[in-house]
Amino acid sequence: MQDPPTVTELLEAAAAFLREVAVPQLSGHAAFHARVAANALDVVKRELALRPAAERDEHARLTALLHTDGSLEELNALLSRRIAAGELSLQTPGLAAHLWATTLAKVAIDQPTYASYRREAGT
């Protein structure tokens, strides 16, 4: 068992250092990249919190939709092939709902401030 602080707390401390200490002392490209680096740490933090449940749900939807089991990568590859072949389409019950749920869960990690996400998630 790892001792405290948690990885989330470590990430928060590193991001706060970048934003509050490093960025004000930097200029130009370096300041810009330091701000982006802090944003990258925020993505990691959200992914640690949200990804396990999101992928468990995605996997359950995929096995129901495709009537088969496999890894997330295998199931997404299969879904992609079936959409490309026209075997599954937006008329297929459950497909649109699955793509919406999966995409919203991804953007919640990658970029929850994105305007299209805020509109759709009602945040």
Partner: protein, 323 residues
């Protein structure tokens, strides 16, 4: 580099005494943009140097061709910087060209929020409509050989790029299928800027002072530029102002239609909206390759990869709206 530049500047119309304020603006791995002032007895000339030491990769125009396009559209009611000199091998500066430096803002945050630009902001959408009409009216015989990238070819190109990424993306598959099923009819091919959006516009007190970055210029469907200008990632939070977060579509299209005499078919525009969002998504999804190959290991490049999901969301909003 200063010495080589001085030798180049000595070839221009009047003798240059010195170079001042030489400064690199872009941090791109393959393209460099430098700002400099050529100092003469008569005064200071602000210049930009676009160069690439090793030449550009495939899929974009060479710097020489880009300079030719700029020179061709200069004087055609398209605001562009005047090209002053195209580098030759004996200049030992790689490929590139020198052009006039135009004052104004390029950062979207400044263009959208600077109080000094408040009065021009409301004019930008219609101005961009008139400029697009002027670009699309450029006589093709003035231009260098440019790639023909019509609707069908763009889908093919994007699809090969997506397949090479080897990451299955069901939403992209849905979009590819829709694009192929709804391919627009052929149109008279015109000069298309190819990257007509925030970041490539210089905005100042007279509105759009210049349209930059012509490296993706090609021959194709004019509606492509009108749609690309409006994809959601360039709205910077202003979702209901599709034209760069500063204007509505009617302003852009009304100005475009009255300047060009063409009418824009809504179905064709919708098709290019979908292609535009997919194109942005495929571009973002290409970034892990840059990171892993060492071509560009910046954290900015790494994080852009994670923006592919925003285009998946925008594609679903277009193809499978929930309400």
């Amino acid at each position: 580099m200063s010495e080589a530049l001085l030798r180049v500047l000595a070839k221009l119309d009047s003798p240059v005494k010195d170079i001042a304020n030489l400064m690199r603006l872009s941090a791109g791995a393959t393209n460099e943009t430098w700002s400099l002032d050529a100092v003469r007895d008569a005064g200071v000339e602000p210049l930009i140097l676009r160069r690439s030491a090793a030449g550009r990769g495939s899929g974009v125009l060479t710097l020489q061709a880009e300079a030719q396009v700029l020179s061709a559209v200069y004087g055609c009611n398209v605001p562009v910087p005047k090209v002053r000199y195209v580098l030759a091998p004996e200049d030992t500066l790689g490929e590139g060209f020198l052009m006039q430096r135009i004052a104004g803002a390029t950062l979207p945050s400044k263009i959208l929020r600077d109080p000094a630009l408040a009065s021009v902001r409301s004019q930008l959408a219609s101005q961009l409509g008139r400029i697009a009409a002027a670009i699309h009216a450029v006589d093709l015989s003035r231009l260098p050989q440019l790639p023909l990238l019509d609707a069908q070819r763009q889908v093919q190109h994007l699809h090969s790029q997506y397949q090479a990424q080897e990451t299955p993306r069901p939403v992209f598959e849905l979009a590819f299928r829709w694009l192929r099923e709804h391919l627009p009819s052929k149109v008279t091919a015109v000069l298309v800027h190819g990257d007509y959006r925030h970041g490539n516009l210089i905005v100042g007190e007279r509105g759009v002072h210049a349209v930059l970055d012509w490296e993706l210029a090609h021959i194709g469907d004019p509606v492509e530029d009108l749609a690309w200008l409006c994809i959601p990632p360039w709205r910077f939070g202003e979702l209901d102002k599709p034209v760069g977060g500063f204007g509505v579509r009617e302003e852009l299209l009304d100005a475009y239609e009255s300047a060009s005499g063409l009418s824009v078919d809504p179905a064709r525009l919708e098709w290019w909206d979908v292609l535009g969002s997919l194109r942005w998504g495929v571009m973002c999804a290409d970034m892990p390759k840059w990171l892993r190959s060492g071509r560009d290991t910046s954290v900015e490049r790494a994080l852009i990869s994670r923006r592919a999901s925003e285009s998946e969301l925008d594609l679903l909003r277009l193809l499978a709206p929930r309400n």
